[in-house]
Every structure is written in C-alpha cells, then in structure tokens.
C-alpha cells in the first residue's frame, strides 16, 4: 500500500473511537418553550427563613446600639483639655527651682 492509500485509509478511519457530543444544558429550556410546557418556577422560600433573617438583623442593630452607647460613657481618666495639654507640653519652660 502506498503513502496515498495509507493516508486515505487513515482518514476514513479517523472517526474510530468517536465519543458522542453532549447537548448543551440549556437545550431542555428551549424544548420547554417550544412545547409550551411550564418552565420550572424557583422553589418557594420557607417563611422561617424570613424570621431568621429578621432576627439576625435585629441582633445586629442591637449590637451596634450598645457599642454606640458605650462610646459615650465618661472615661476614668479626666478628659484632656487643650489648656492642660499645653501646660504639660511647655512645662520645660518653667524655672527650675534650685
């Protein structure tokens, strides 16, 4: 068998072992639209989901309120005023008592 015949036979046999090509995942939706079959609706969300979400939100708001309130509590140390800060800063200028 010459080179040409070998090439032809190999080409004729090039489909050996071929795997079936899969259809796309969206094909069934197209089929449904063509048949008039109802498209599957998304599953209804359980009511308890909404209650859990509301409870979580309430907890978050409550935590934020508590943190905000604590930030207004008077600190143990006296608040520093500009005057006290200045006197401390310039204290090196006070005459040294020998």
């Amino acid at each position: 068998m010459n080179r040409k015949e070998t090439w032809i036979n190999e080409t004729l046999n090039s489909l050996d072992g071929i795997q079936r090509a899969p259809a796309s995942a969206g094909l069934f939706l197209k089929i449904q639209s063509g048949t008039g079959l109802p498209v599957n609706k998304p599953a209804a969300i359980n009511k308890s989901f909404y209650w859990s979400a509301a409870a979580g939100l309430a907890l978050l708001i409550a935590l934020n309120v508590i943190v905000a309130q604590q930030s207004h509590v008077t600190p143990q140390h006296p608040a520093e005023t500009p005057a006290t800060m200045a006197s401390e800063y310039f204290s090196y200028l006070s005459p040294i008592k020998l």
């Binding site: 090439w7 090039s14 489909l15 072992g17 090509a21 796309s24 089929i31």
Partner: protein, 192 residues
C-alpha cells in the same frame, strides 16, 4: 428501551415522563444532528424541533417500531429539511461566484468542522473527512453518519431509514467508494 408504561404516560402528556425521555435521548438526537449538519447551533435547533415534534405527535405513536427508531427517524428528517433549506439559499450564492472570482475547490480551513468527540490525534484528519462527507448524496451521508458517528448497526439504520439491510450495506459501500475518490482528490491537491 423505553418501557410501555412510560410511553402510555407520554401519550397522556405527562411532563415528568417527557423530561425523562429528553434526558435519555437528548445527546443521541444532538449528536446525530451534529454529524449531519456539522454545525453546533443548527444541531441544537434541530434537536429542539425533534423533541417538540415528539411531544406533539407521541399520541399518534402506535409502536410499529421502537421509540428509539422513531426518534432517530424524526431527527434525520428534521436535519435533512435543514440541509435542503440552507442549500436553497446557497444556490444563489453559487450563481454569484460564477460571475465573480474563480470558484474555490477547497473549503477554507476556518470553516472546517471539528467534532468535539474526536480523539486529539485524529482532529485534523476527521475534519477533512467531514468535509468529504458533506459532499456525499444525502442517503449515503445519513447511513454513514448513523453508523460511524452514532455507532448504530446496519439493522438499526435500516429501521430508521425504512429500507432493507442490504440497501444499507449498498449505501455504505458506495459512500466509502465516493469518500475515497474525494479524499484522493484532496490528497493530490493538498498533501503531496
């Protein structure tokens, strides 16, 4: 093989049964259409048409053949309708080229069809083969694709094409002979 109770449910318009049927035959229908049309989007359109036809006409299915044969038959019919429709458009294009540039004898590489299920080492050769297959007469092309791409036996193909097994054998022999001639021409023009 689809059990008889499922067929009965299909006739009643049972959606779950129809979905199961689609799941079972979807890839076979698509792959057959893809082999015949060599175009993924057109093959998907044909697959949709096939299942719509199945859904609408299953009530008339009397079991004279297996449901598998029936679905393949519809697939081949729809795919060939698609080819006939697209060829009507192309005839106009061929007339234009006679007045224009010299008609090309080779399909450019970028329009070659690469079947996704082909092994890597056979990709280029199979693309050349698919070009040659597209030039076969319709019956030879159908028999060849059902056998080589779908892996159906000659008996199954005879049922689908509503002819005898000997007629299918004859179609396969002639298809192979014609392909050898086409591939020989290709080799002379491109591979030497």
């Amino acid at each position: 093989m689809v059990p008889a109770p499922v067929i009965a449910k299909l006739r009643e318009g049972d959606e779950k049964a129809f979905r199961e049927l689609v799941d079972q035959y979807r890839d076979r229908v698509y792959n057959t259409a893809l082999g015949l049309l060599q175009h993924p989007e057109n093959a998907e359109d044909v697959a949709q048409e096939v299942f719509v036809e199945v859904f609408r006409s299953v009530a008339r299915f009397r079991g004279e053949c297996s449901i598998s044969t029936w679905i393949y038959r519809i697939t081949v019919q729809k795919a060939l309708e698609h080819i006939r429709t697209s060829h009507r458009g192309k005839r106009f294009g061929i007339h234009i080229s006679l007045f224009g540039r010299e008609e090309q004898t080779e399909i450019p590489a970028e329009t070659r069809f690469y079947h996704p299920g082909i092994q890597l080492e056979n990709k280029e050769r199979s693309a050349i083969l698919f070009q040659a297959i597209s030039k076969l007469p319709v019956n030879q092309r159908t028999a060849f694709i059902l056998h080589k791409v779908e892996g159906l036996s000659q008996t199954e193909i005879a049922g689908i094409m509503e002819t005898s097994v000997s007629a299918i054998e004859s179609l396969m022999v002639r298809a192979r002979q014609k392909l050898k001639v086409l591939l020989s021409d290709y080799y002379e023009n491109n591979e030497r």
